[in-house]
């Protein structure tokens, strides 16, 4: 099966500024790919190129088997794009806005009415269907944006910061919607700088800084291989830990480093020696309330790339 998105050396320059620098990106069909990076990293420019709204300076790309530059209309029928700065026609109602989109996509009126009712219901906007969009909150507009994107039943969704600036309930609804899309076999590319939210739903992530993709893979892969350099990190909760215990642990074979933060001891080791550590803590007369191997959080990986060492 060919990838949904494939780019080779994709480059976009605005004068002297290199917005996207020889990007090689591959997104498989049916996966949720998190496109992460700080503001101004070139995420939006990349999405616009994938949709054929901006022409690349150099490089090649293929989206759902089409060349976005040569066959933009065929592609736009299959791709739903949610822009970061989302705008609707303020003096039209939510439903009128969606009907306009449906018309532009050649969806019949009857079919459009059916789909709109279903989408607005799923996004909790049924009551606001006949209200003017000018009365909508930011969160409602964002949800309406999701409805607008899903209306054409796209194979590929390009979502630019879909959860920025909205309340937790709205975020939950949008994330649920994205996961549901994957269940239906759609491919989703989510660009975001909000790591925690993306982490929960993404199959793979790519970290994008200053126009370059500096890492790509699953979060666990990025954490272990890229950051920790194949080390295991074990976290043990010992409420009555003393410096003496830390010393004892440091003396164990395979332990590289021990650090204490509150009741938690963070132990870096060469292999998974949780059993040995637990035994040592308990036999030394301390209370062990919990021991676990560390789950890598995206913000650590992220912090590593932007601020040097992760702060854990």
């Amino acid at each position: 099966m060919q990838p949904a998105i494939q780019t080779w050396g994709l480059t976009k320059k605005y004068g002297d500024l290199v917005a996207v620098d020889s990007l090689d990106l591959e997104v498989e069909q049916g996966e949720i790919y998190g496109f992460l990076g700080p503001n101004g990293a070139g995420k939006t420019t990349t999405l616009l190129m994938l949709l054929g709204l901006t022409e690349p300076t150099a490089g090649r790309l293929r989206v759902l088997g089409y060349d976005p530059i040569r066959e933009p209309l065929k592609l736009k029928r299959l791709v739903g794009y949610l822009p970061e700065n989302l705008g609707f026609y303020d003096d039209m109602t939510a439903k009128q806005n969606l009907l306009y989109t449906a018309k532009l996509n050649g969806i019949s009126f009857v079919e459009a009415e059916r789909r709109i009712a279903k989408l607005l219901d799923a996004l909790g906007l049924s009551n606001a269907a006949d209200k003017k969009v000018s009365t909508f909150s930011k969160g409602m507009k964002q949800r309406l944006g999701m409805a607008d994107v899903l209306l054409k039943d796209p194979q590929l969704l390009l979502l630019d910061e879909p959860t920025t600036g909205i309340d937790p309930e709205g975020v939950r609804q949008i994330l649920d919607m994205i996961v549901e899309c994957r269940a239906k076999g759609k491919t989703v590319l989510v660009s975001s700088h909000l790591l925690y939210q993306v982490q929960k739903i993404c199959d793979r992530v790519g970290i994008f800084v200053k126009g370059r993709l500096i890492a790509s893979g699953t979060i666990q892969h990025l954490g272990r291989e890229v950051i920790a350099g194949d080390k295991y990190v074990i976290e043990a909760e010992v409420p009555d830990a003393t410096p003496a215990l830390e010393e004892t642990l440091r003396g164990l074979e395979g332990v590289i480093k021990v650090a204490k933060a509150g009741p938690t001891l963070t132990i870096e080791c060469k292999s998974d020696i949780r059993g040995v550590i637990a035994k040592v803590i308990v036999t030394s007369g301390y209370t062990l309330t919990q021991i676990r191997s560390h789950e890598y959080a995206l913000d650590e990986i992220y912090a590593r790339y932007f601020e040097g060492e992760p702060k854990t």
């Binding site: 616009l48 949709l51 709204l53 933009p72 209309l73 065929k74 736009k76 029928r77 791709v79 739903g80 794009y81 822009p83 700065n85 989302l86 705008g87 609707f88 026609y89 303020d90 003096d91 306009y100 989109t101 018309k103 532009l104 996509n105 050649g106 944006g145 607008d148 054409k152």
Partner: protein, 218 residues
């Protein structure tokens, strides 16, 4: 092509719903009607030639004649319809969303132009119809020849105003701010009137006898 039509229809209903449009519509109709009334008054008073078409370029002198109003206010209508066509969509962030649907960029521009031209056509035929009605009411009946000339006049007037629409729409594509494109359009409109432009000559050419008192103005 379907995209162009969809956009044109949506824009048309937008225009008809805005206060701006009704404001200009009223001004142009009132001014045009007054001018037509003056023309008729002048023709009724004058005992010489009582030709139907003359009412559009004759006046008692209190107000400029009908033709002058069309020349002067027509461009304003064109500019009002077009100066924010594209940059307003950009400012409201609706342009990217619009273009992410399967439509070409020129479908957006053409669709908006098409709806503007429809509005211009409605206005021009409306006002000429009302003025003609007034004339017929006082007994100035057009013959077939005059009727044909009137239709040609209407067509050229629509072209003339559509030219201004195209110009302001071009500015709305080039400039990011609606105020900039409005000022640029008005600047060209203003300077074109003081420097004797070709656009006015075009209208003069079709008004086949140039013998009116306002000739000196140009």
């Amino acid at each position: 092509m379907t995209g162009t039509l969809t956009i044109a229809l949506k824009e048309l209903s937008d225009y008809l719903g805005t206060k701006r449009f009704w404001f200009f519509f009223t001004i142009i109709y009132v001014a045009g009607l007054m001018a037509a009334y003056m023309g008729i008054l002048a023709l009724v008073q004058a005992r010489v030639e009582r030709s139907f078409l003359l009412l559009f370029r004759t006046s008692t002198g209190a107000l400029p004649p009908f033709l002058f109003f069309i020349m002067y206010f027509g461009p304003l209508l064109g500019i009002a319809l077009g100066f924010d066509a594209i940059n307003k969509e950009r400012a409201k962030n609706t342009l990217v969303r619009l273009l992410s649907n399967p439509v070409h960029r020129d479908a957006v521009i053409n669709g908006k132009f098409l709806s503007g031209v429809s509005i211009i056509t409605i206005v021009v035929f409306g006002i000429l119809g009302i003025a003609s009605g007034l004339a017929i009411r006082v007994g100035l009946l057009p013959n077939l020849d005059e009727l044909a000339r009137l239709v040609v006049f209407a067509a050229v007037t629509i072209l003339y105003i559509a030219g201004w629409l195209a110009l302001s729409q071009l500015f709305s594509t080039l400039f990011a701010h609606t105020s900039t494109s409005a000022i640029a359009s008005f600047a060209i409109w203003g300077s074109s009137h003081s420097s004797g432009p070709q656009s006015l000559l075009l209208l003069l050419l079709i008004s086949y006898q140039i013998q009116t008192p306002w000739r000196g103005l140009l």
